[in-house]
């Protein structure tokens, strides 16, 4: 466009009304500075900026969700392209950065996608990056172990599983994987050792009765533990193990149950309601599935360690749906 175009017309207008425009410019600028001195304006701008920032994040998160959908559908090529772009835009550099959960998730999905496409080197490199990004997230080590195992990198898989158990010694799938690995390799001693370590590992479960938590943390190790629990309102009278109306998150057994009510002031009769105590013994068992127990049993028999097997059997009850074991974040469980 030349002098006769829109730009030319604007230029002529600016030259023709230079003084007016210059004054308007100065006035506008002064108003801008003055407006900024008004707290309400600063607050409104702050809100708008925050919204804009959140919107940009939200768009990235939506794309992460789409990529996840593709991973779950098995649309690996599309997922790989999307995840690579997402990783490039907000890479997982430092765990202190915002959206670290999602950044890690992108890496985990990317490692899985590479694996599904048969790209061993890229898959393992990505999962190693993931582990370095957030080294105390046991889930990353679980993924590392499973991918390394899938690509027959057995040593790397075992090291990853051992790291899982250092962070989360009650992670049942990893215990199962390690026990099976040792048993398959003919190392019955290590297989039994891993299981014994699992049974001994410090793990607790709350004991609840209705809305009340009787015991915040009952050791779960297959051994009997006495308990002496206060409740704000003793409104039931249990008189045996079967009558204990308690909920424990793993298989458990109860014995010697007693209810101790409070007293009525100045009277010899106990109060019919009000605070009191439950006392007794309880033992809770670590989650164990039938396949795992069968492997342990077979390993003990191979070692001719029948007393050891009996001791383990005393502390073990096989459950049908043992889940992932104890110790997970209750918020995630819900």
């Amino acid at each position: 466009m030349g002098e006769g175009g829109a730009i030319g017309r604007w230029a002529r207008a600016l030259r023709g009304h230079e003084r007016g425009f210059a004054r308007a410019y100065l006035l506008g600028l002064a108003l801008l500075v003055a407006a900024w001195l008004v707290p309400a304006v600063r607050a409104a701008t702050s809100t708008q900026l925050k919204r804009a920032s959140y919107r940009a994040e939200q768009r990235w998160l939506e794309r992460v969700a789409t990529a996840r959908d593709w991973v779950e559908e098995g649309n690996w090529p599309a997922a790989e392209r999307a995840l690579l772009r997402l990783d490039a835009e907000l890479p997982a550099h430092h765990v202190k950065h915002g959206l670290s959960l999602e950044r890690g998730q992108v890496l985990a999905d990317l490692a899985r996608t590479h694996a599904a496409l048969g790209r061993k080197r890229r898959s393992l490199e990505t999962v190693r990056r993931l582990v370095a990004f957030e080294p105390r997230n046991y889930g990353h080590h679980v993924l590392h172990g499973s991918l390394a195992d899938r690509f027959a990198e057995t040593g790397e898989a075992v090291r990853a599983w051992q790291r899982v158990l250092e962070i989360h010694p009650n992670h049942l799938p990893t215990v199962r994987a390690l026990v099976t690995h040792h048993a398959d390799a003919g190392d019955a001693e290590s297989a039994v050792g891993v299981f014994e370590t699992y049974l001994d590992a410090f793990g607790t479960t709350p004991v609840r009765r209705g809305p009340d938590t009787l015991v915040q943390a009952l050791p779960v190790d297959g051994r009997w533990h006495a308990f002496d629990a206060w409740v704000p309102d003793v409104d039931e009278r249990g008189d045996g193990a079967t009558a204990l109306p308690v909920a424990v998150e793993t298989l458990s057994e109860v014995a010697d149950l007693q209810v101790v009510p409070s007293w009525q002031a100045g009277r010899s009769q106990p109060a019919v309601d009000g605070p009191g105590r439950w006392r007794g013994r309880i033992r809770a068992f670590k989650p164990v599935d039938a396949a795992l127990w069968a492997t342990v049993e077979r390993s003990c028999r191979n070692l001719l360690a029948f007393e050891r097997l009996a001791a383990l059997a005393e502390r073990t009850r096989v459950s049908e749906d043992p889940g992932e074991g104890l110790g997970r974040d209750p918020e995630l469980q819900s």
Binding site: E18, E166, S262, A265, G266, G327
Partner: protein, 1019 residues
């Protein structure tokens, strides 16, 4: 037709910026742009800068950045603009060369520093080289950004860790953390924790200058590691750290309550000894705390010190923050390998209003501990004791005054700062909050509440009397109000609600006191607040009388309220006091069990003597112990053999060592061993305590071994090991020790008249111990005759040391007095060196008596060590004089108080504290320094000094009208020191003046003072 050239020329434009006024009519674009530049700059400063900071903050997502808003940052920017002139003026007045030892002066390469400051995580995780200037000394140090959350990195003054090289400590520390977060209150709280005798890192307020520009006021603190333990006089051991809060993302997916999983903890100091217990103390403690049954309390006695926990909780209440040691973070626990107990380390405690709503719940560990009803009672007792003696706030007020006075400039500058910067906290606010909390504590001490419900009399005249205690303070039942006659009472100790024959009982006469029965409240953490809860006690009384109560903390009478009969009586989550063994009313402690051993006995299982018990071994007894079988006594042991009938303790099989003969705890104090022979023992781990000697004394005092024989121990480090103990060993023999014959760790006592032959390693090994070692004979040790390490200061006199590889080894800032000892045929007679860098120097031996060189003794030179000589045929008489007062010159971070100040004389004089010395330097003229002392009594002054060859110096002591002048002679070699003495008159004030002149031809002179002592009269 073209116009006239002159008509086409533009009319000359009059300037917009006239001399007198603006010509608005002639305003042009260029003028507007020039005119608007300042406005743009202002806008950039006010808008763009906070926006950039906001966007920087948005990169992170933690509690700090989530609370940040652009509006707040913009407000801060406006504030900064308004206070800019004041800030500039203040910053010009802040002088990096200030002599205050708290001021930290760093120099960093400018490019590196610009990068450090450029963005929050720039250089995060990298060590940056820097130089720290400390008076005339330069330290090569490294800096690294620190902190778990963005509060430490987003601020213009970023938190960092400073690290020196090994052996080059900065005022005693190798690593210091500098935190920007609420420094004033945290320093005051941290120092108060130390006043309370709690294990806490040394902390101080430090203005930091980088490249001679003021950077900010920080809370400097030593890190929790092995160095902290050693400085605090604790045996090196495991320190467990629990932090899953801001690092929580790293434990994603796991339940993060630290008290429910040992896997979430890490060790920041390690006990790597092969004999450490297989199960860590932390695991045992967590396992114990999840138990709710009564027997857990007994075991807990061996895991934690209840008195220390009570002190911790009481301290946390005074600072209003029993909450920040949460289930998720700020947990540091030290496991003492010599006792097996865990000790809390105070870390990151805030100063909050005690009566405000708690910001977090109490942690599960504290709640479990508070199930023991004695603990809260002891907490209140500790508060009452400190309230009564005025030590509730320790030295906080003085410290706050010192902060306000000494750091006024830096604090004023910091107060002007706003924006992405944590609050500094005004010292006056800190003082006010502490006072408010102290007032709340005082109210609690007076808060004793009791109410009573009386039932109807039964056929026998007995009435139920239900007493409920509910206030902060325990109450004591002291008898009955005026009654017609004696009142019989029964306490329902078994809490079955009935009057049983086994229940304790008594009769109270009218007006007189019964046995004082202490009734303590229960504890509740409802609404997250640590508060007392009602606890119920049932009695039966016969006779008409009302019970009388007093506040158990103050003794003030307490008026009892009335509980309506028939209402449900309170119970509480914790245990009832009367359920605890020995705590029911009238409970009589069982007689101390006495175990008597006599004759020839074989022990195939370890023997344990409980606290309060007693072990007696008859003369002539022979105890043969099976492999790894031990005797562990928490009670007193009396093993008194005779020359004719000695006691022998040995192995059943000489090839398979027995364990340890161990005394543990104060209950074993006063033990006596005479004519006892120990042999073939091998050390043991018992009750999760490491015993590394064949015979061990841990945490007991007044233990005597007299005329005993220790021989042929196997496997174990030591024949006799004392840890945190006071032990006398006299006239005994140590033969063929496996490694060290006697090993004293943090112990004292007397080692006199013993004979040591062929110890595998050292005859006597000292770690931070100060025994008297007198008249012993040491022959043929495989390593040292006497090894003096880790800041030990023993008195060693009249010993004969022959045929050892090394006679004396003095290391790691140990300062032994070596008086008139005889050394013959040793490889090296005196070796001084640095062995453990944590102590920051080599040996500091004082050799008194026969000369080293004339006697042909071998002395290994060492640049990090010092040797003070007082040579002569015999020791001078003053060595026997008692020490009245001692002044050393350790350079720490405490502000110099007026009474510590020396007055410098001479324009060219320089006086510095360098390391642990006072150094007077003269340049081209005479230098002088003087100060006043209160003379502690008649006696002798003793100066330990070093003066370079050719130097001239004098000491003047003026007391009253008399003045003594003592010429100080040059010492013989670098690192060599000498003593100078002068008489002290009784009482009064004296003035000490030190004068130094340059050595001829050099123009420089230097007088170094290591210590100044005042000795009493000769005994």
């Amino acid at each position: 037709m073209s116009p006239e050239p002159s008509a086409r020329l533009p009319r000359p434009r009059p300037p917009f910026f006239g001399l007198r006024r603006l010509r608005w009519r002639d305003l042009r674009w260029l003028d507007a742009l020039v005119f608007s530049m300042p406005l743009w700059l202002v806008l950039l400063f006010l808008v763009a800068a906070p926006m950039a900071r906001y966007l920087d903050a948005r990169v992170f997502s933690d509690w700090w950045t989530r609370s940040e808003s652009l509006a707040r940052l913009a407000d801060a920017q406006l504030h900064t603009l308004a206070r800019l002139p004041e800030a500039l003026s203040l910053s010009l007045r802040l002088d990096a060369e200030h002599p205050d030892p708290r001021w930290i002066r760093l120099h960093v390469d400018r490019d590196v520093w610009n990068e450090w400051q450029s963005e929050p995580l720039a250089l995060h995780g990298d060590w940056v080289e820097a130089t720290l200037l400390e008076g005339p000394r330069l330290h090569e140090v490294k800096l690294r950004k620190r902190g778990d959350t963005s509060v430490h990195w987003l601020t213009p003054k970023k938190s960092f860790t400073l690290k020196t090289g090994r052996g080059d400590l900065v005022r005693g520390h190798r690593r210091l953390s500098f935190s920007a977060k609420t420094p004033v209150e945290q320093v005051v709280v941290g120092q108060l924790a130390r006043d309370w005798g709690l294990l806490a890192p040394e902390t101080f307020l430090a203005p930091v200058f980088v490249n001679d520009r003021f950077y900010g006021v920080f809370r400097a603190s030593e890190l929790v590691d092995e160095s902290l333990l050693r400085r605090a006089g604790r045996m090196p051991g495991d320190v467990f750290r629990g932090d899953t809060a801001e690092r929580g993302e790293n434990y994603r997916g796991l339940a993060r309550n630290l008290w429910h999983s040992p896997a979430l903890w890490e060790r920041v100091a390690r006990n790597d000894r092969p004999t450490r217990p297989a199960v860590s103390g932390l695991e045992r403690l967590l396992g114990n705390l999840v138990r709710t049954d009564l027997s857990a309390l007994d075991e807990r006695e061996h895991l934690v010190d209840r008195g220390e926990l009570a002190r911790l909780l009481a301290f946390l209440l005074v600072v209003g923050d029993p909450y920040h040691m949460t289930n998720l973070h700020n947990q540091f626990w030290y496991e003492d390998p010599s006792s097996g107990r865990l000790h809390p380390i105070v870390w990151d405690i805030r100063l909050l209003a005690l009566d405000a709503a708690p910001p977090h719940p109490l942690n599960s560990g504290f709640l479990s501990l508070l199930r023991d009803p004695r603990l809260f009672d002891e907490v209140m007792t500790e508060l009452a004791r400190r309230h009564a003696d005025g030590s509730l706030l320790g030295g906080s007020e003085e410290r706050l005054a010192a902060i306000e006075q000494g750091l006024e400039g830096p604090l004023r500058f910091e107060a002007l700062r706003r924006g992405v910067i944590p609050d500094l906290t005004d010292p006056s606010q800190v003082g006010a909050r502490l006072q408010a909390n102290a007032a709340t504590v005082a109210d609690w001490i007076d808060d004793a509440q009791v109410s009573v419900a009386a039932g109807d009399a039964d056929a026998a005249g007995w009435r139920i009397l239900d007493v409920t205690v509910a206030g902060h303070a325990a109450v004591e039942w002291v008898g009955f109000e005026a009654a017609d006659g004696p009142v019989a009472w029964v306490a329902d100790a078994d809490r079955n609600g009935r009057r049983d024959p086994s229940d304790p009982r008594g009769v109270a006469s009218p007006g007189s006191e019964t046995a004082r029965l202490r009734l303590v409240p229960a504890v509740s953490a409802a609404d997250w607040r640590l508060a007392p809860a009602p606890q119920h006690y049932r009695f039966f009384v016969r006779g008409e009388a009302a019970p009388r109560f007093v506040n158990a903390l103050t003794g003030a009478p307490v008026a009892a309220g009335r509980t309506p009969p028939g209402t449900s009586l309170a119970t509480a989550p914790g245990h009832h006091l009367w359920a605890l063994p020995g705590h029911s009313p009238g409970a009589v402690a069982p007689p101390a069990p006495v175990t008597r051993l006599a004759g020839a006995l074989e022990l195939r299982e370890s023997l344990r003597i409980p606290e309060g018990g007693r072990l007696e071994i008859a003369p002539g007894s022979v105890l043969r112990l099976g492999a790894d079988v031990s005797i562990l006594s928490r009670g007193r042991v009396v093993a008194q053999g005779t020359p004719e009938a000695p006691i022998r303790i040995e192995a059943l099989d000489p090839k398979r060592p027995w364990g340890a003969f161990a005394l543990l705890g104060e209950g074993a104090s006063g033990s006596r061993f005479r004519h006892v022979e120990f042999r073939w023992g091998g050390g043991a781990e018992l009750d999760s305590v490491e015993f590394k000697g064949m015979v061990d004394v841990h945490h007991a005092h007044d233990v005597v071994f007299d005329a005993c024989r220790f021989r042929d121990n196997l496997r174990s480090d030591d024949a006799l090991n004392a840890v945190h103990a006071q032990v006398d060993v006299r006239h005994s023999e140590f033969l063929n020790a496996n490694a060290d014959a006697i090993d004293f760790d943090y112990s004292r006592g007397e080692i006199r008249g013993n004979r040591f032959v062929a110890a595998g390693n050292d005859a006597i090994d000292l770690m931070t111990s100060s025994p008297r070692i007198v008249d012993n004979e040491i022959e043929g040790s495989g390593d040292k005759g006497v090894s003096i390490g880790e800041a030990s200061a023993p008195w060693i006199e009249g010993n004969a040391i022959r045929g050892c590889v090394i006679g004396f080894e003095v290391k790691d800032r140990s300062a032994p007095w070596l008086v008139a000892n005889r050394l013959e045929g040793n490889g090296v007679d005196l070796l001084q060196q640095v062995k453990n860098w944590r102590y920051g120097g080599g040996g500091r031996a004082k050799w008194i008596g026969p000369g080293l060189a004339p006697a042909g003794l071998e002395v290994a030179p060492d640049a990090s060590s010092r040797l003070t000589l007082e040579e002569g045929a015999a020791a001078p008489a003053w060595v026997q004089r008692p020490l009245l007062a001692e002044m050393s010159f350790e350079s720490r971070f405490e502000p110099l108080t007026p009474d510590q100040s020396w007055e410098v004389r001479g324009a060219r004089t320089r006086l510095d504290r360098a390391g642990d010395e006072l150094v007077l330097r003269a340049r081209k003229g005479r230098a002088g320094a003087r100060r006043r002392f209160s003379a502690p009594g008649p006696g002798l002054g003793l100066l330990e000094y070093s003066l370079a060859a050719g130097g001239r110096a004098e000491l003047h002591w003026r007391q009253g009208e008399r003045e003594h002048v003592v010429p100080l002679t040059p010492t013989k070699a670098p690192g060599q020191y000498a003593f100078a003495t002068w008489p002290l008159a009784a009482g009064g004030e004296g003035r000490l003046t030190l004068l130094a002149e340059p050595a001829e031809g050099t123009g420089r002179g230097e007088l170094r003072i290591q210590a100044l002592r005042f000795l009493g009269e000769a005994p």
